[in-house]
């Protein structure tokens, strides 16, 4: 009952919603970069939204299923292929045993999430299955997935008869992504505590100019390149907390956006924070892409987050109903 990796991707890892409650010991929450997409993949296969999934970058891993499985891929569109045939992502897919799942090219986005019905059978560390690469703990053996890894799945037996004579069945419903309420290349920000340290001109640059996401970008953070920002104050910031989405100003005048594997504390000025509802948007951006920032207020930030969660809940109710009916057949 294993999922075998037949070809390794680039730093594909097991992730869930993160490891909450350990930051006072320097252990960061981690978790999926795009938690909305991870939740959607789970919802499609009837799992709880916080179940562990495989986070894939491109080129992505290739998988071999030893047993029938109900799977779904959400987030980036990497042109999913089953046994050489292209199929749509964002649908639940029933696979017969000995199926091969591959990804051929990037059509859209940067990170795709693979969920399996029943979830992966992993031990977890400090109440989370997220892979903590620095600590070499959690996920699958505390590391990125490699060729010949066999990840145990909690498969449900009743899937076998449903797929008896077919290679795969794409179930006819999907998760519609929420319609973006604004330009997807722009992310909304709230001012950070050190915002006032920016010089007047630099404040304008942050919102009027575009920044490019450099190749020094990973799960810890995206380094941006743009016009240099200057501060009017040299006083050091004593190490203090940061958050997913925090925009820090580095000593060379460039910005870094902190992502899922960010450190728990930092001493660089926190000029702004990307709102939570736009973390998913950030997570699907690639190096080389341009990004713009636009100020909003806390009311809008919270409304957008609640709207996002409501959308997920509606999808969950609809998908679970359809899946239950299908599995009862």
């Amino acid at each position: 009952m294993n999922l075998r990796i037949i070809k390794a991707g680039v730093q594909d890892t097991i992730q869930d919603m993160g490891r909450i409650g350990w930051q006072h010991l320097g252990i960061n929450p981690g978790g999926a970069m795009d938690k909305v997409a991870a939740a959607m993949a789970n919802i499609l296969v009837g799992n709880a939204p916080r179940e562990a999934v495989i986070e894939m970058n491109f080129p992505a891993s290739e998988f071999f299923f030893e047993q029938p499985a109900l799977v779904a891929v959400s987030g980036a569109d990497f042109s999913m292929h089953v046994n050489g045939e292209e199929i749509a992502s964002d649908h639940p897919v029933l696979l017969s045993k000995f199926s091969i799942l591959q990804f051929h090219r990037i059509n859209k986005g940067a990170r795709a999430y693979l969920a399996v019905h029943g979830g992966f059978d992993l031990q977890g560390w400090l109440n989370s299955c997220s892979t903590h690469l620095k600590a070499a703990m959690g996920g699958f053996q505390g590391r990125a997935l490699e060729k010949d890894d066999e990840i145990p799945m909690r498969l449900r037996k009743e899937l076998c008869p449903m797929i008896s004579n077919k290679e795969y069945i794409v179930l006819p419903w999907k998760t519609e992504p929420e319609l973006p309420e604004s330009d997807p290349a722009t992310v909304f920000i709230l001012p950070g505590n050190e915002w006032e340290r920016l010089e007047g001109q630099s404040k304008n640059i942050l919102v009027d100019h575009s920044f490019v996401i450099t190749h020094q970008s990973d799960r810890m953070g995206y380094q941006l390149k743009g016009e240099k920002l200057m501060t009017n104050q040299q006083e050091e910031v004593v190490s203090s907390a940061v958050n997913f989405g925090t925009l820090q100003l580095l000593p060379d005048g460039q910005l870094i956006v902190l992502m899922a594997d960010h450190q728990t504390a930092g001493g660089y000025p926190r000029v702004a924070h990307v709102i939570s509802a736009h973390h998913s948007r950030l997570a699907q951006m690639k190096p080389g892409q341009m990004i713009r920032f636009q100020f909003t207020d806390i009311q809008v930030a919270e409304d957008l987050l609640l709207r996002q969660q409501k959308h997920l809940l509606q999808l969950q109710n609809a998908c679970h109903l359809k899946l239950d009916n299908f599995l009862k057949q």
Partner: protein, 235 residues
């Protein structure tokens, strides 16, 4: 204890609030930060995910979605949590006399374990022996953890051996004991680092397989003591 310390509260994005007691490294201030943290943990502010101390601030991470239904109309979730947080901070409470833990950590300061010791000594016009004596002759406070799992920010080191961090990080071995400014700390894991490395401990400050993966906690007192290369190997 009542809150006589002055503070300001600001948002850290839309999922956290920071209580800032002043941007400085001060032992008494940090002691209050940790007392406040203990108090806030018992205050059960709705939606709380984590309460995290730093040098001179506390961060409350909360789940806005979980508490959205409790927030009265006309208020943002953030304003509501801030109000609850302020109420908790202003409350009178009993400080339980918590004894700060004293922990001794062996350090081998010998060649092969201390790549930057000679450089630091030269820059501060001291002999290596003097640097070791000054570093191991003082009890340090663990102000906070961060950067890596189990990485402790301790201080303050004697002004005589203080040195600004390196401009570029270099690879650092696990167990390395470093100095940056008036801070000292131990790298629990192999990592790039910018601190001057003056020794190495055989003790594992972080071990993910232990029930308590991290050895030191904010508020602990730490004393380093010198061990030889042989003692390090046999530890």
């Amino acid at each position: 204890m009542s809150s006589t310390a002055s503070y300001q509260i600001f948002g850290l994005g839309d999922t956290a609030l920071v209580v800032d007691f002043g941007n400085r490294i001060d032992e008494d201030l940090n002691r209050r930060v940790i007392q406040y943290c203990r108090h806030l943990k018992t205050a059960a502010i709705p939606g709380t995910l984590e309460i995290v101390p730093a040098y001179s601030s506390i961060t409350l991470y909360y789940d806005p979605v979980a508490i959205s239904k409790s927030v009265p109309a006309g208020s943002t979730i953030q304003a509501w949590v801030k109000e609850k947080l302020t109420t908790a901070l202003e409350q009178e409470w009993e400080t339980t006399a918590t004894k700060e833990r004293q922990i001794r950590i062996p350090v081998c300061y010998e060649e092969g374990f201390a790549p930057d010791l000679a450089l630091l000594a030269a820059q501060r016009n001291l002999s290596s022996e003097e640097v070791i004596r000054i570093h191991s002759n003082h009890t340090y406070r663990v102000y906070m953890l961060g950067f890596l799992p189990g990485f402790t920010y301790m201080g303050k080191v004697d002004e005589a051996i203080a040195i600004p961090r390196k401009p570029q990080p270099v690879p650092v071995q696990p167990g390395s004991v470093g100095i940056a400014g008036r801070q000292t700390g131990v790298y629990p894991l192999a990592s790039p680092g910018g601190w001057y490395i003056i020794g190495r401990t055989p003790i594992k400050l972080f071990d993910g397989t232990r029930e308590n993966p991290v050895l030191l906690e904010p508020g602990d007192s730490v004393q380093f003591f010198s061990i030889s290369k042989d003692e390090f190997t046999d530890y």
